[in-house]
C-alpha cells in the first residue's frame, strides 16, 4: 500500500522559518492519500531538487511566506530541467512578495518563473489537494 502512494516534496524555501502552514499542509496532503516528503523550513533550492529525484516525487510544493519569495524562487525550474526532472509539477504559495500586492501581478511573475500553479496568501489545503489530484491525474500519476 505505502509504496503505491504518489510522492510530493514539500518545503519552505530560502531563509524562511514559517512552519505552521507547512505542518498543516503536510498533515492535510498526507490525509488526502499522498506520501509527503516534508523538508520543513529553511530549504535551499537544491534540496528540493535532490529530494524529488531521490524519492521519484511527482510534484514539488514550494512555500514562501516571509517576502523573499521573489528572490528565492527564481531558477528552480531550470534547476529541475538541468537535473532531468524538467517536467515535474511545481506549485508555489504563501505570501510570495514583500508587501500587500495585487495577486494577478504576483501570479504572472511566478508563472513566468516556470511554476505550474501560484497560490494566493491564506489558501486552504483542500484547494491545493484538489488541484494536485486533477493535475496528476492528467499526467496519469494519480488515480483514486
Amino acid at each position: 500500500m505505502q509504496k503505491d502512494r504518489t510522492k510530493i516534496v514539500l518545503g519552505v524555501i530560502g531563509a524562511d522559518c514559517h512552519a505552521v502552514g507547512n505542518k498543516i499542509l503536510a498533515h492535510a496532503i498526507t490525509a488526502a492519500g499522498f506520501e509527503v516528503v516534508n523538508l520543513g523550513v529553511l530549504v535551499p533550492q537544491e534540496d528540493f531538487v535532490n529530494a524529488a529525484i531521490e524519492t521519484d516525487a511527482k510534484a514539488i510544493l514550494v512555500a514562501s511566506l516571509y517576502g523573499h519569495g521573489e528572490i528565492d524562487c527564481r531558477g528552480l525550474r531550470s534547476r529541475c530541467d538541468e537535473s532531468g526532472i524538467g517536467d515535474i509539477l511545481l506549485y508555489v504559495g504563501g505570501n510570495l512578495v514583500v508587501g500587500k500586492t495585487d495577486f494577478t501581478e504576483v501570479q504572472d511573475k511566478f508563472l513566468g518563473m516556470g511554476y505550474d500553479r501560484v497560490y494566493e496568501p491564506g489558501i486552504l489545503p483542500d484547494q491545493v489537494i484538489e488541484d494536485l489530484k486533477s493535475d496528476l491525474a492528467k499526467r496519469g500519476h494519480f488515480s483514486e
Partner: protein, 485 residues
Amino acid sequence: MELKNKKWTHDEFYAIREDILKQWPTGAEVDMAEAFKYHETIPAKKHFAKRLVKAKKNGETLTQPRAGVALINEHINLLNFLRTEGEADLLPTTIDSYTRQNQYKEAENGIEESKRAGRSLLNGFPAVNHGVAGVRKVIESVDGPLQVRHGTPDARLLGEITLAGGYTAYEGGGISYNIPYAKSVSLEQTIYDWQYCDRLVGIYAENGIEINREPFGPLTGTLVPPSVSHSVAIIEGILAAEQGVKNITLGYGQCGNLFQDIAAIKALEQLADEYFAKNGYNDCVLTTVFHQWMGGFPQDEAKAFGVISWGAAAAALAKATKVIVKTPHEALGIPTKEANAQGLKATKQLINMLADQPFPLSSEVQTEIDIIKAETRCILDKVFELGNGDFAKGTVSAFAAGVLDVPFAPSKYSLNKILPARDNHGAVRLFDTGNLPFTQDIIDFHRIKIEERANSEGRKPSFQMVIDDIYAISKGRLVGRPNRS
C-alpha cells in the same frame, strides 16, 4: 566550550571577539571604547531603557511597531513617519531574514536589487551590511528610542555593530531566537552565542551604558500557552542577568481570552520577580511587553482593525509596559508605512481611552494567574533540576526531554509533543500536555477544559480541533467551532 550559566570573564569574551568581527568587513568599524563615548551623546528622550523605566513608574503602556526596509534613507523616512503620523512611543528596526541567517551576501544582493527595483525587496533592514556608520545615520536622523528586532540565532556580529551604532535596546535570546526561527541549530550553540550578546550588553553596562534586552516572548506566535512562553522568557532573563544585563523586558503574545491575557501579564511580573530574587539577581529593572495577536490574521482590513483593537484593549487593561502593534495589512504583506501608522493610531486611541480604567483582579483573573504560576513553576523547577542548578544546562536537557516544548516550532530540538487548543471560553489550553512536567491536577485541568469544549461542539478532541483554532481568528472567530468556520 562547556555551556554553563556563568558570567563570562573578559578573557573568555575577548578571546573569540576578533573572529566574530571578521565575519563581515563592516565588523572592522566597531570600536567599543569609541562606542561608549558615542552613547553618552545620545539624549535621554531617545534612550530606550530610560523610557521604559519612566513608563513603568507612571503606569503607561507604550506603543511600538515593527518596521524595516532595505535602504538607509527609506528606513529613516519610515521610522520618522511612524513616530510623527503613527504617534509611536518606541521605534524598532526590524532586521531582514538573510541577515537573521547570517547570509550577508544575499543581504548585499537584496540591497542592490532594492536599489534597482526602487522598492524594498528585503523584509527588513540589513544592519550588518550597512555597518556602524550606516546605523548611526539612522540613530541620528530618527527622533525616538530605537530597538533592534530580529530573529537571529547567531546575533553576535549584528549586536556588535548595532550597539556600537547607538541602538539602546536589543531583542532576542538563545531559546526564543532559535526554536521558532531555526531548524537544526543546537541550543548549546545559540545559548552560548547569546551569552556573548548578553555579555556584550553587560560590558556596556559596566561602562555606564544601559542597554535594554528583550527575550522574544511569543515564540511561534500560534496558540502558545502562557506557562510555556513564560518559562522561556524567565530563563532567558536569568541567562541575561547572569551576564550583567540590568534592564530586561519580558514578553507575552496575546492568546485572545481577556482574563487569560490579563492574568498572563500579571503572572509574568510576579514569577519574574520571584525567580530573579531566588537566583540572586536583585539589581535588574524588569518590564513587560504584550504582543497583539501573533497568529494568522483576517485578510479583511476592517476585521484586522478589530483584532488589533482587541489586542490594544487587553494590553492596556493588563497594564503591560509596552505593546507591539500589528497592522491592517498583517495577513497579506509587510505593511506600507501608512498601514503601519493606522495600526499604531487605533492602538493609541484604545490605550488612551482605557488608561483611566483600572481592571481589578476579578476571581476569574486570579484563577488564571494561579494556574499559570503553578504550571510555570513546574517547568522552571524541573529545568533547574535537570541542569543540577544551572538553567543553561537545564534548558538543553529540558528541550531534549520535552520538559520545555514549543508548539509548531520548526526546530528539531523541540519535541513538538504538546498540542494546544482553545477551551470553551477561548482560553488556550493543552489538548496534549506531552512531556511537560505538570502535576496530575494540572493535567486533569487541561483535559477537563478541552472536554468541556468538545462536548459543547459534539465532537471528540482531535488534531482537527487544533487546526480549526489555528484558522479561527483569520476566519473571524476566536474558537474554531466546527460548523462556523
